[in-house]
C-alpha cells in the first residue's frame, strides 16, 4: 500500500513541475501579480493615508473590512476550542 502512495506523490510532483513552465521568472517586475492594482497602492499610499508602511495601510485602510472578518475568524477558533475541551462544573459530585 505504501508503494502506491509513493508513486502517487511522484506523479503529482512531476505534473506540478510540468506546470512550472507557464510561471513568470523569479524577480520579474512585469509579472501579472505586479501589474493591475498593486502600482496604484504603492504610488498613492503616502498621499491618501499619511502612513508610510504600505502593508499596514492596505490591511487596515484599503481592506479594513476583511481584517474585521479575520478577527472574527480567530475569535471563533478560540470559542470552538473552549467548547470542545472545557469541563462542566455541574458534573462534580457534592
Amino acid at each position: 500500500m505504501r508503494i502506491f502512495y509513493y508513486i502517487l506523490t511522484c506523479i503529482t510532483g512531476l505534473l506540478l513541475i510540468y506546470g512550472v513552465s507557464d510561471m513568470p521568472k523569479w524577480g520579474d517586475p512585469h509579472s501579472p501579480a505586479s501589474l493591475h492594482v498593486s502600482p496604484r497602492y504603492i504610488e498613492k499610499t503616502l498621499e491618501e493615508t499619511e502612513v508610510p508602511n504600505m502593508v499596514t495601510a492596505v490591511l487596515a485602510d484599503y481592506r479594513g473590512f476583511d481584517t474585521f472578518g479575520e478577527t472574527t475568524v480567530i475569535f471563533t477558533a478560540a470559542v470552538s476550542c473552549l467548547l470542545i475541551l472545557r469541563k462542566r462544573k455541574k458534573e462534580k459530585d457534592v
Binding site: N53, A60, I74, F75, R86
Partner: protein
C-alpha cells in the same frame, strides 16, 4: 498538567525576562505604521510571554493570576473595539470604517492605531486561551 520546573536558573531568568518581552510586544503594536509590525505580530509576542511564564512556573500559578473568565472578556473586547471605531465613523456621517472624519489630529493614522490595538488584544487572549485548554489534561 504542566508542573513547576525544578531548575532555579530557568525560574529566575524567565521571571526577569518576561516584562521586557511584553514591552517589546507593545513597541511592535504601537509602531505599526512606520516600521514592520502591527496588530497580529505584537499580539502573538504578548501571548508568548504568558506562555513562557506558564512553562517555567507551572500552569496553576499562572491560572491564579490570569483567570479564564478574564480571558474570554478580553477576546470579546478586542472585536468590540474594532466594531466600535467603525460604528463611530458611521454615526458621524461617513461610510463604515472611513477614518477621514474622526475629530483628532491626523485621523487616518489614529484610526489605524486603534484598530491594531483591538486586534492585538484579541490575538493575545486567543493564544493564551488555546494554551490553557490544550494543557489541562484530566
Amino acid at each position: 498538567m504542566i508542573d513547576k520546573h525544578e531548575s532555579i536558573i530557568i525560574k529566575t531568568i524567565s521571571r526577569i525576562l518576561a516584562p521586557f518581552v511584553q514591552l517589546y510586544a507593545l513597541y511592535v503594536i504601537m509602531h505599526g505604521h512606520t516600521s514592520p509590525g502591527g496588530g497580529f505580530q505584537g499580539g502573538v509576542i504578548l501571548g508568548a510571554s504568558f506562555i513562557l511564564l506558564a512553562i517555567a512556573f507551572g500552569i496553576d500559578e499562572v491560572k491564579e493570576r490570569f483567570a479564564e473568565r478574564i480571558l474570554t472578556t478580553f477576546t470579546s473586547m478586542g472585536v468590540f473595539i474594532y466594531g466600535f471605531i467603525g460604528f463611530v465613523c458611521f454615526v458621524l456621517g461617513a461610510n463604515f470604517l472611513d477614518y477621514g472624519i474622526l475629530p483628532v489630529v491626523e485621523p487616518r493614522g489614529m484610526g489605524m492605531l486603534g484598530i491594531e490595538i483591538g486586534v492585538g488584544i484579541t490575538v493575545m487572549a486567543v493564544m493564551v486561551s488555546i494554551f490553557y485548554d490544550l494543557s489541562t489534561y484530566e
